[in-house]
């Protein structure tokens, strides 16, 4: 794997993205150590400008310390981003693999479902799902996973369709390997690189979607996420710009880092552009 690591990290953007992502991850995990008070603790009057005494990022519309909020907010965004992507990958790979490998009716069915998701305004569908499951962390994760798995299924199906024709797969069938051994032993390892690339992009998208839900008031009211901070500051923005600008910047930087990582993975894992 060392050659993969070398070619991944020699790309400036990928290395920068990875570093930024690690910093954000550390801040999110170590928040309780860095900050004494919790994100909900009210430390003073609301809407104090950044740089006021003891508040380098200012206070939000409830008088809470923005810096602490941003640190804890990272946890929710990353948690939702990663778990919903894992869910989507799970469903997507399973369905995509079966459709791609066996073809026929399963393939047609999957194609119809992915088409349905393309035609229906997916964000409205997500809003309906979250609204009827009552807004919470769980409903956001399930909702996002449900609307993003078709994307993965389409990619995995494409990979399996092309790999299935490759001669080493036909050789495996000639040798008498069982379907399961062929799918998981032979094809899946070769389909991993596109899956890894798309999943890093999807974590980014999931974070954007979660923040959109929270912005529209469909987020979990007991949790503080970057999206809910922006949502809560729609009016405050007119008198206190930082309440909106800072959480938005955090989302952008995180998703940018994830996209850089995705690009880096794409180059490093793709043998054609290894040099």
């Amino acid at each position: 794997m060392t050659s993969f690591a070398r070619s991944f990290f020699c790309r400036p953007m990928a290395a920068f993205g990875f570093a930024v992502f690690i910093v954000i991850l550390v801040i999110a995990l170590a928040a309780p150590l860095i900050f004494v008070r919790g994100p909900f603790t009210i430390v003073g009057m609301p809407l104090l400008a950044p740089g006021s005494p003891g508040l380098f990022a200012g206070s939000d519309v409830l008088g809470r310390d923005m810096a602490v909020g941003l640190a804890y907010g990272a946890r929710i965004s990353l948690l939702v981003g990663v778990t919903s992507t894992l869910g989507a990958i799970g469903i997507g790979v399973l369905l995509g693999a079966t459709a791609g490998y066996y073809g026929g009716m399963v393939d047609d069915l999957l194609m119809r479902i992915t088409e349905f998701f393309q035609i229906i305004p997916t964000f409205v569908l997500l809003m309906v799902l979250v609204a009827f499951m009552q807004p919470s962390l769980g409903s956001a994760v399930i909702g996002i996973a449900l609307i993003s798995w078709p994307q993965v299924a389409r990619v995995v199906r494409g990979e399996f369709l092309s790999l299935r024709e490759r001669e080493f797969v036909q050789a495996a069938r000639v040798l008498g390997l069982s379907d399961a051994r062929i799918i998981f032993g032979q094809i899946l390892p070769n389909a991993l690189s596109p899956i890894v690339v798309i999943s890093s992009m999807m974590v980014g998208n999931a974070i954007l979607t979660e923040s959109a839900l929270a912005f529209l008031g469909l987020g979990d009211p007991n949790l503080l996420s970057w999206g809910s901070m922006i949502g809560g500051s729609r009016s405050a923005m007119w008198v206190a710009w930082w309440t909106t600008v800072l959480p938005g910047l955090c989302i952008m930087v995180t998703v940018l880092a994830l996209n850089f990582i995705g690009d880096g993975l794409n180059d490093a894992l793709n043998p054609r552009r290894r040099r």
């Binding site: 909900f40 009552q134 008031g217 469909l218 007991n222 809560g232 729609r234 007119w238």
Partner: protein, 524 residues
Amino acid sequence: MLDRRAILGAAGLLAFPAQAWSLSGRDRIINAMMFDDPATLCYPLNNTRIIQQICGNINESLLLFDWQFRPHPNLAHAFEISPDGLVYTFHLRNDVSWHDGVKFTARDVVFSCGVILPELNPRSRNSFSHIDTITTPDAYTVVVRLKQPFNAFLLSLMASSAPMMPAHIYEGTDFRTNPFNFNPIGTGPFKFAEWKRGQYIHLVRNEHYWRPGQPGMDGIYYRICPTPEQRMVAMETGAVDLAMADDIDTVLTSRLKANPDIVTFTGAYNGTAEIFVMELNQRRWPFSDRRFRAAFLHAVDRQFLVKAINFGIGKVATGPIPSSAPYYDPKVLTLYPYDPARARALLDEMGLKAGLGGVRHRFGIMLTPDGGGAFTRSAQYVKQALSEVGLDVFLEATDWPTQLRRSGNWEFDCDTNSYGEYGDPAIGTSRFYLSSNIRKGVPLTNLQGYINPEVDRLFPKAAVAVSHQEAQACYSRLQQILTHDVAMLWLYERNPVLFYNKRLADVVTGPNGPSDGFGAARLA
């Protein structure tokens, strides 16, 4: 539909200043705002604030009330009350006609107070249940005989509780589906002109209005403005002249207050006198224990809640009757100053010791779906304050259907709401504390399940007290009991702020605020 090429060509006209339209053509028009299209324009049927404010210009009441809640003539130019307080005689004006030209007579009053109001409006039903008979000796006199004296009867004739409805339109029809609910007929200074759904409601001046010199303006537009920021920008750019209660988020009031072109008017809503409250479901332990409720109030710094969280709008609430309302008696109230230590002591006394993680008890607070506005922020502050004394709260997000269903069916630990007093405790306050008003499935009733026999006895006694002093004695005792029992968690008196453009004058003339209509409004 606009043709795309024209748009692109027009985009070149950016030099076209947005505010070029001059004020001349439209300066005699009042522009107000609303969140969204109201469900109907039948005054008593849907008693939300926006309907009161629109229909206040169309349907009038028999009497108007000044800032001291003293009655003044309106559709009834004079009235007498019998010494025993049982018979009220109203002498109606004979020069009033409905917008469709039909004469306004006693028949309309009998129909309104006797039939349509009790049927459609729960508050009117309470007040008019005291009526024994209504007779009309002649076309312009109405004699109302009560079963027993009811000193709040006059106040219950305020427009928001008793608007006069046209008998010739509604009699014998199904009030809820009468087409005139969307094309209201009244006697007021303005009449209904047009309702363009999704855009605006337009009222025009009533040429044959009986009060001389009114209305001072030619028409009113209520335009749809969904978000608080949009409403604020509309006020600042002068596109709109009037921002009523709840139109402007408290966060932004500082910005409008600082604007020289905009007049800030507090107290416009003393008539309704709303209190922001939280209701604990007293059927469930530990909320049934008075000490828990006392600890709740001690743990919340209500001064900070008003000053910081609500940006200085409103006043700390101390009891069931707001300080600006009649019968308010500060002497008898049990007060609960901000004292977290006292709260912890009370909880210990109850046996709610701090368990793992310092948590004594965990319960939910159901939010009102106000899109992250003042109510949600207050609940978020309360959650934080209670966590300091070991009470772990989880906020439950809801949308309108869920909030109504769960509060009506008592499926909540703690509910947030805002209740108006409407001028007299018998009208606006008693409904939340009488055990007779515990009715499953119906919002805005005694949802908490608070039962106190003495309270059940005192409220009706106060309502029928002949003299003011006798009523005051009852209400003082009631305030003493209710505050001692912490019957409800009164947080702060909201008294929302009204903003209007300085080009207008006499926009608000009484405690009922915009709900009395803009007949008097004129150019400054």
